[in-house]
């Protein structure tokens, strides 16, 4: 894939995530989706750029704000939407929901609901790659809110000590739920946490998806060649509330509008249009609409999982009671 083809493909992925989530929000308000729904809208360039920097067999995992990474990694819209609808055709058979998207075939290892709790798991996958002498890397995404919790530090401390091929990507969207960066961290340059572990670091704004790819690719290259982990702080912004129930009263409309001016999706769209790709993009947009509508129809028509599924997914083999 050349750079132009890649640009078009990354536009497609970002647009798909955006439209998938806008329609998810609509389905949520219609009562089709239960529980929590954390939208990634505004942050798409991080997952899409990161995915372009790694191989299909590299390990990835993220927080409960996981739809974007799952779709970027290649999960089908059908499997993703059906999971939101809690259906047996969902990626996690309707047992995980919005926060627990898993797609092992595409090396997407969740979807984790406890802030920071997944960080050691990613280090563990990187450990396994190193143990087996493979050149795979593990990418783990987390919010800046997870910078304060213990598991995050233990994962980084051990990953750096053992030079594990793990890339810690802090998606700093400026708000840990409703608490702003300034109110939650004494040091707002999160990348500097890397210094404490003797780990490589990087820090940049996610406006340009190509830059996201290139900067993450540099860390991936280091990890693959045995130089150990990197902490990357990617500065981004979520356009929606923390979850569907959040009216986001802790920030001003002007602030949100300002962030939307820097929307990475529109940036790549403008660039491609200037490059004469308008007709191609229109075709992509139409295909994305069809894909999302098809996913909703598919999710709607799919069956609920039955109770027979519960025991075999709790234990492999005989149930232990």
């Amino acid at each position: 894939m050349n750079e132009r083809e890649l640009a078009i493909d990354m536009y497609r992925q970002m647009k798909l995530i955006r439209r998938f989530e806008e329609e998810s929000a609509r389905a949520y308000s219609m009562g089709k989706i239960g529980g929590f729904l954390h939208l990634y809208i505004g942050q798409e360039s991080v997952a899409v750029g990161a995915n372009a920097a790694i191989r299909p067999d590299d390990y990835t995992m993220t927080t409960y704000r996981d739809h974007g990474l799952a779709l970027a990694r290649g999960m089908t819209s059908r499997a993703a939407m059906a999971e939101l609808f809690g259906k047996e055709t969902g990626c996690s058979k309707g047992l995980g929901g919005s926060m627990h998207f898993f797609d092992v075939e595409n090396h997407m290892y969740g979807g984790h609901g406890i802030v920071g709790g997944h960080m050691p798991l990613a280090a563990g996958m990187a450990f396994a790659a190193k143990y087996r002498g493979e050149d795979r890397v593990a990418l783990v995404f987390y919010g800046e809110g997870a910078s304060s919790i213990g598991a995050t530090h233990e994962a980084m401390s051990l990953a750096a000590l053992w030079k594990l091929p793990c890339i810690f990507i802090c998606e700093n969207n400026e708000y840990a739920m409703g608490t702003s960066l300034e109110r939650s961290l004494s040091l707002t340059d999160i990348s500097r946490k890397a210094d404490a572990y003797g780990m490589a670091k990087d820090r940049f704004v996610a406006d340009d998806v190509f830059m996201v790819r290139d900067r993450i690719a540099a860390a991936v290259k280091r990890a693959r060649s045995g130089e150990g982990p990197t902490l990357i702080e990617v500065r981004t912004y979520r356009f929606r509330g923390h979850s569907m129930s959040d009216p986001a009263k802790y920030r001003t409309k002007d602030e949100v509008d300002d962030a939307k001016q820097r929307d990475a999706l529109y940036r790549v769209q403008r660039q491609l249009e200037e490059d004469g790709a308008k007709a191609e993009l229109e075709k992509i947009d139409a295909a994305v609409e069809d894909e999302v509508q098809d996913a909703i129809k598919f999710a709607d028509e799919s069956a609920d999982p039955g109770p027979d599924l519960l025991a075999p997914t709790t234990y492999k083999g005989d149930f232990a009671r």
Binding site: E154, D318, A320
Partner: protein
């Protein structure tokens, strides 16, 4: 058959499984260069090298999670907690990651990991180092919990644990490490989970126990025999799954039961066993089932007070006599 100590039986199981399967490795605090805080892993670093016997910093949540992550992609880690007390700071990893990963991924993942280490009281190690942690962990669907009392079971249960594709919590006792016993040499000697063992036959009262307290119950049985009460002692070996059939068979024979174990009286393994007996063998019972537990206080340091709190043979004797209406 070879005579060896309990800690050697554990070590033998680890070494045999590491020889058998290259995906098995071990991590924990002081397990390598230091040779193990309780010498369980003595010699393993020399034998297997630092790639597979991994000393960790003091970061239980970190290395428990690393073990789980490695297991999610096919390795078979054995994670040692220097004591199970310290697993409390890794509780989230066990509860939310090891136990739930398979279910929340719709069955896509397996987590073949063993967590092991000494559990419950030792000798005057105070309130923060004397927890019986099985009562927290047996509550969780998705994990298996075992606790051997004999050297042979120490080997056989650990080998089964390492070969199991689910997370297994294997609980030892510091006070059993020097116990000697016969251990089968067979490299495929495994003890299946969910099967208890009658360690003493008797017709008058069933005493259900596991881990170190099995030995205390044996002491109690000798005292009871002198008073004409023959106790049947069951060593559960496995707490989740639980050998319900063996318990019910014995209760059907003796019609009386006492459950003796370390841990506080509120809820826990003993309450679960009592529930099953009253629910499934109500008509067999000639007396309410009693429990002999650690007393309901944080463990005191003072030696006499500690012994006062830990289940002792006289308390088991008293309970057995009470359910026999022989006070």
């Amino acid at each position: 058959m070879s005579e060896m100590r309990f800690r050697e039986a554990i070590r033998t199981a680890i070494a045999e499984e590491m020889e058998r399967d290259g995906s098995v490795f071990m991590m924990g605090e002081e397990i390598g260069q230091y040779q193990g805080a309780y010498k369980v892993t003595e010699g393993l670093l020399d034998r297997f090298g630092e790639k597979r016997i991994i000393d960790t910093p003091i970061a239980e949540a970190g290395f428990a999670g690393i073990g789980i992550g490695a297991a999610m992609v096919g390795l078979r880690p054995i994670v040692e907690f220097m004591t199970w007390n310290f697993s409390a700071v890794a509780f989230d990893q066990i509860l939310n990651n090891a136990a739930k990963m398979r279910q929340m991924s719709g069955g896509q993942l397996e987590v073949p990991i063993v967590f092991r280490g000494p559990n419950a009281s030792a000798r005057q190690v105070g309130s923060q180092h004397s927890h019986a942690m099985e009562h927290f962990y047996t509550h969780i669907p998705g994990v298996k919990v075992v606790a051997p009392s004999s050297c042979a079971d120490a080997k056989g249960l650990l080998k089964t644990a390492i070969r199991d594709d689910n997370p297994v919590l294997y609980l030892e006792s510091e006070t059993l490490y020097s116990l000697k016993g016969d251990v089968p040499d067979d490299e495929d000697y495994t003890v299946p989970f969910g099967l208890g063992r009658v360690v003493r036959e008797g017709a008058d009262v069933t005493i259900i126990s596991y881990s170190r307290i099995v030995h205390v119950a044996m002491e109690a049985a000798e005292a009871l025999a002198k008073e004409g009460i023959e106790a049947e002692i069951i060593d559960l070996r496995s707490l989740r799954p639980l050998d319900e059939d063996l318990i019910l068979q014995s209760v059907a024979k003796t019609h009386r039961a006492v459950v003796a174990y370390e841990g506080w009286p509120y809820g826990g393994v003993g309450a679960e066993i009592v529930d099953r007996i009253q629910r499934l063998a109500f008509d067999e019972l000639d007396a309410p089932v009693l429990r002999v537990t650690t007393l309901d206080y944080p463990m005191p340091y003072n030696a006499a007070l500690e012994q006062h709190c830990i289940p002792q043979a006289p308390r088991i004797v008293e309970a057995a006599k009470k359910v026999s209406y022989r006070e």
